[in-house]
Amino acid sequence: MQPFDFARADDAKEAIASGARYVAGGTNLIDLMKADVEHPPRLVDINAIPLATIERSGGGVRIGALARMSDVAQNPIIRERFPMISQALLLSASPQIRNAASLGGNLMQRTRCPYFRELTFAECNKRSPGTGCAAVEGENRMHAVVGGSPACIAAHPSDFAVAFAALDGVITLRGPNGERQVLATDFHLLPGNTPHIEHDLKSGELITSLFIPDAPHAQRSAYLKVRDRASYEFAITSAAVGLELAGGSIRSARVALGGIGTKPWRSREAEAVLTGKSASAATFREAAEAALRGAKDYGQNGFKIELAKRTLVRALSDLAGGVA
C-alpha cells in the first residue's frame, strides 16, 4: 500500500474542506489500496460525521450516507415500504462486510473486473486511461452485456444501487459550493471513452443522504439475484422489480437489472411494455425482450442475455403471485 496522510473529520464541512479522499467502511477502498489499484495521497475518515439516520421524510425515506448496509436492511421502514431494498442488501456480500460498508460507499464501489483489480495486466482504461481494455477480447464471462463500449465492459457490482435506481432514488451531494440533488439513474455514468470517470461527482463532493420516494410499486417489490454460489457472491444477473396491480392489470411498474450492465441498469423500455397490460407470462416475456434489446455478447458472457430475461420474468411472475 502506498503511504498516505490520515485525518478524521467530525462534520461534513471539515471533511469537504480537507480535500482528501473520503473513507467510511473502507471495505472496497482499503482492499483496492492494498492491491495498489487505488493510491490516494490523503484519506479522511468520515465515520464520526452524524450521517447515519434512517427516517421518514417528505413522502419517502431518507437514509444517511453513513448508514450501514446491515442497519438499512433490517430497518422497519425499509422492510415494510421498500422490500426490494432490504432484499438487495441482504443478498449482498457477507454479514461482516454489511456491518462495515456504508450506503454512500456502496454507490461508490468499483468494479470486480479482474483486469481492473490485477496490476499484472497493463491494459485497463478504467485504471490507467488510454491503455486499452483486456476484457473485450479476454476473459469476460462476468462482464456487462449492456452499456459497454470498446473502451470498457466492466460490470457494475452493486445490488443495492440496482434497487435504488429502480425506485427513483435521489442522492444528495454536498460540496465546496453547497448542496445539490442527483437522480440515482443519472449518478452512475456509462463508460464511453472515459471509463475512469464513473460518477456525476464534482471535486470535493460528499454523498450525504439517499432518498427513496414512497410508491405502491415500491411497497410491492422484490429483488432476485442469480449467482455462481448460494451466498456471498456477486450477481451474474439480477432483477429489481416493483408492480402496482389493479385487478389483473399493471398500473405502474419499475424494473432495473444488475450484473449485466456497466451501470445499474434501469429499463424504462420494460416498464413501458408492462404499464397498462395484464400481468401475464406473455407480458413479462415481452418486457424482458425489451429490456435486453441491443445487448451484446462479447464471447463468454452471451449466456447472460437469456439468463437476464429469465431472471426478470421469474421476478415479475413471483411478485405478481405466480402468474407465469
Binding site: T27, D31, D45, S94, Q96, I97, N99
Partner: protein, 205 residues
C-alpha cells in the same frame, strides 16, 4: 475400529503462551554470536517510523496507545503490535472471514479496515471471549462438535458465530449457513460448525 487418542501436550512441551517470546529471544541470542560485539552492545531500539501516528485501541477491555503507520490494518495492529494472534490473516481481502473480530459488538473483517478507523470502538477478539477462566459457550460447542480440523479459520468462525447468535440468526440450519457465509473453512468442517452453533444458540454468548 479404533481412533488414535486425542493430542495431549506432554510435559516437555507445555502449553505456555510465553513460549513464543522465548523462541524470539533465543533467535536473537543465536544471531548475536554471529555478529560483532560492537553492534550487539548497542541498545536495541525499534526503528522510528516517520509515518507513524498515535492510535489508541480498546481491545478486549484494555486500552492500548500505539504509534503506527496509518496503513496498518486492524488485523496487523492486533497481530503484529499487540501480540493477539488469534485473528488470522487468510485472504487479506475480506473474502474468507479468518480475521473476523467484533467492533462494538458487530462482526467485521479486521483485514479491510485501518486500525486508525477503529479508535473509540470496543474491539473483542477470540482472546477476549472466555471469561473467568471459562470458555465462551460457542468455543466449548466448537470443541464438542468438531467444528474445525486445521483450526486456521476457527477464531474467525467462532467470533462470527457469537455475533450470529446475538443477532438472532440461528433459527434453522439454513439460516445459520446463510449468515455464516462470510467465513470459509478450507477443511470443510461446515457440518460440525453448524452443529456447534445450533448447540450453543440458547446459551448466553
Amino acid at each position: 475400529m479404533t481412533f488414535p487418542p486425542c493430542y495431549q501436550p506432554d510435559d516437555d512441551e507445555p502449553d505456555d503462551p510465553s513460549r513464543r517470546t522465548f523462541m524470539i529471544g533465543s533467535a536473537v541470542a543465536t544471531a548475536g554470536l554471529l555478529i560483532s560485539p560492537t553492534i550487539t552492545a548497542q541498545p536495541q531500539k525499534a526503528a522510528v517510523d516517520p509515518h507513524a501516528i498515535p492510535i489508541s485501541l480498546n481491545v478486549n477491555g484494555k486500552l492500548h496507545s500505539l504509534k503506527l503507520d496509518p496503513r496498518t490494518t486492524l488485523l496487523d495492529a492486533l497481530r503484529e503490535h499487540l501480540d493477539l494472534t488469534g485473528a488470522k490473516k487468510g485472504c487479506d481481502q475480506g473474502a474468507c472471514g479468518a480475521c473476523t473480530v467484533l467492533a462494538d459488538g458487530r462482526r467485521i473483517n479486521s483485514c479491510i479496515t485501518l486500525a486508525a478507523m477503529q479508535q473509540g470502538r470496543k474491539i473483542v477478539t477470540i482472546e477476549g471471549l472466555a471469561a473467568n477462566g471459562r470458555l465462551n459457550a460457542v468455543q466449548a460447542a466448537f470443541i464438542r462438535n468438531d467444528g474445525f480440523q486445521c483450526g486456521y479459520c476457527t477464531s474467525g468462525q467462532i467470533c462470527s458465530a457469537v455475533a450470529l447468535i446475538r443477532e438472532g440468526h440461528a433459527n434453522s440450519d439454513d439460516e445459520i449457513r446463510e449468515w455464516m457465509s462470510g467465513n470459509i473453512c478450507r477443511c470443510g468442517c461446515y457440518v460440525g460448525i453448524v452443529a456447534a452453533i445450533r448447540e450453543a444458540k440458547h446459551a448466553a454468548v
